[in-house]
């Protein structure tokens, strides 16, 4: 018996496979990048179908938005055509086929899709589902596990994002990226700005996008959302402004001198919350210590603070990445 959810799932997974095969075959890198945006969008729909709404949110904003733009920025600095290889690499094909066959063999024993008795649904998960509402006062289980139960992981991941941004700045943030406004370019290169429909549309959209980012940030406890998604959505609003209007104007509003220190501030807020819980007599990131009489209130406060830290770091990292890639002059 096939349910509707399974049917949608089968169709979408097939579409995903077709998109990936097209990405392999096409040599025009611009088309490949556009296809990867479509691929991310289809992935986001699949995640919604599989009840992973928070992941869908993230994939839609990161994969279809930011990562496509970073790829395009790189194409503008390098080249948009892939060279035709001189020969087919049969060795690579053999390795891939053998590995693929081994993995396929591995799936034979796996529990079927949607099986509630599958070992992945362990007692740990049951505990999260039954107890997290009372312990943290946060209805969204993904948020409470992310920011409280597995807060250490998330702090590590925020630090990885921070480190990646530092590394990109070391590689590309040097002399050739000018923080000072450059001389106005000729009108032909600013053609986006001259298109009235794009301008009007962007003007209507940018405000709601930024507002929506704040909603996702602060409503993440109750519905899908949180610091990661909010940060990316906020950055997407700023990037839209920079693309349609002017890089320099956007950079004047969100100056590198402000956004770069904010990257570190977000991580500091996260780690600082952990240190604060130590001073309240709890464990590192054990938010219950904030309010010994109502541990759930303490948890809510702690989750709010670390999500805020994540949001600040992620939004500023994404803006910095965009400005660094797209502000660099062609060699």
């Amino acid at each position: 018996m096939i349910t509707m959810v399974t049917l949608i799932d089968l169709v979408l997974f097939t579409l995903l496979g077709i998109t990936a095969i097209a990405m392999l075959r096409i040599r025009d890198l611009f088309a490949v990048v556009m296809l990867s945006g479509i691929y991310s969008l289809v992935s986001a729909v699949i995640f919604t179908d599989l009840d992973a709404v928070d992941v869908a949110f993230t994939e839609a904003s990161v994969g279809a938005g930011i990562s496509t733009i970073l790829m395009l920025g790189t194409l503008a600095l390098t080249s948009t055509k892939e060279k035709t290889p001189r020969r087919q690499s049969w060795g690579a094909l053999l390795i891939v086929l053998v590995t693929g066959a081994a993995l396929m063999y591995g799936t034979v024993d796996m529990p079927a899709f949607g099986d509630a008795a599958s070992p992945i649904n362990s007692p740990v998960t049951d505990r999260y589902i039954t107890a997290s509402g009372e312990e943290t006062g946060v209805p969204n289980i993904v948020t409470s596990v992310l920011a409280s139960y597995r807060g250490y992981d998330t702090m590590g991941e925020t630090t990885v994002i921070f480190t990646a941004a530092i590394a990109v700045l070391i590689l590309l943030g040097s002399a050739r990226t000018t923080d000072a406004p450059v001389t106005p370019r000729p009108a032909t290169t600013r053609s986006l700005e001259l298109r009235p429909i794009l301008r009007a549309g962007a003007k209507l959209l940018i405000g709601p996008i930024l507002l929506f980012a704040f909603y996702v940030q602060f409503h993440g406890d109750f519905g899908p959302g949180g610091g990661f998604q909010a940060g990316v959505i906020f950055a997407a609003g700023v990037i839209l402004y920079a693309l349609i209007f002017d890089m320099d104007r956007a950079r004047a509003l969100f100056r590198p001198a402000v956004t770069r220190p904010l990257i570190a501030l977000g991580v500091l807020i996260y780690a600082g919350t952990g240190i604060a819980t130590l001073f309240f007599g709890g464990n590192f990131l054990g938010y219950s210590a904030f309010n010994p009489h109502h541990p759930a209130h303490g948890q809510e406060l702690g989750i709010f603070l670390v999500e805020l830290g994540v949001g600040i770091t992620v939004s500023n990292v994404m803006m910095t990445l965009f400005f660094t890639f797209c502000g660099r002059r062609r060699p």
């Binding site: 496979g17 990405m23 994939e59 992310l146 590689l171």
Partner: protein
């Protein structure tokens, strides 16, 4: 095994099979493509295949998104899909875009240093500059040997 059970098995494992195919497509692009940007796109494919695999495993039939609902507003027990894969994969996606940005930054610097983002051209340029260096070294060594011999001849 009867036909119906085979079909059930296929439907129950289709997600995993597509994940394996996606992963291998990404793997093939990483190995076989000479273009550095294409390689990074291949890595992204590989990564999304893993993410898709985890999320597929967490889904429970008849489940709903893991956001607690008010028990008074629904009749009967609510089944929640496993929240743990969502948590792990959500952060992986954001970390993934940050790390692929780092990869793209390296590609931009390679383009500026070598004038190309094709693997074979970069390797050829490396070999050419190596050969040039070795030739220079050999020439200067021969020069040094010659002057030494000349000095010994004087003595």
């Amino acid at each position: 095994m009867s036909w119906t059970s085979l079909i059930d098995h296929a439907i129950g494992h289709y997600n995993y099979w597509v994940c394996v195919v996606l992963m291998m497509l990404g793997f093939y692009i990483v190995i076989a493509s000479g273009n550095l940007i294409k390689k990074i796109i291949g890595l992204n494919l590989f990564q999304t295949a893993v993410i898709m695999f985890y999320i597929s495993m967490g889904k429970i039939d008849g489940g709903t998104a893991p956001i607690l609902v008010d028990p008074e507003k629904v009749s009967g027990p609510v089944v929640y899909t496993n929240p743990l894969p969502s948590v792990l994969m959500l952060t992986a996606i954001v970390v993934g875009v940050a790390t692929s940005a780092l990869g793209l930054a390296l590609v931009v610097r390679i383009k500026e240093a070598y004038g190309s983002i094709e693997e074979d051209e970069i390797l050829a340029a490396d070999r050419a500059s190596d050969a040039k260096e070795q030739a220079q070294y050999a020439a200067s060594a021969a020069q040094a040997a010659k002057t030494e011999a000349a000095q010994q001849g004087h003595a």
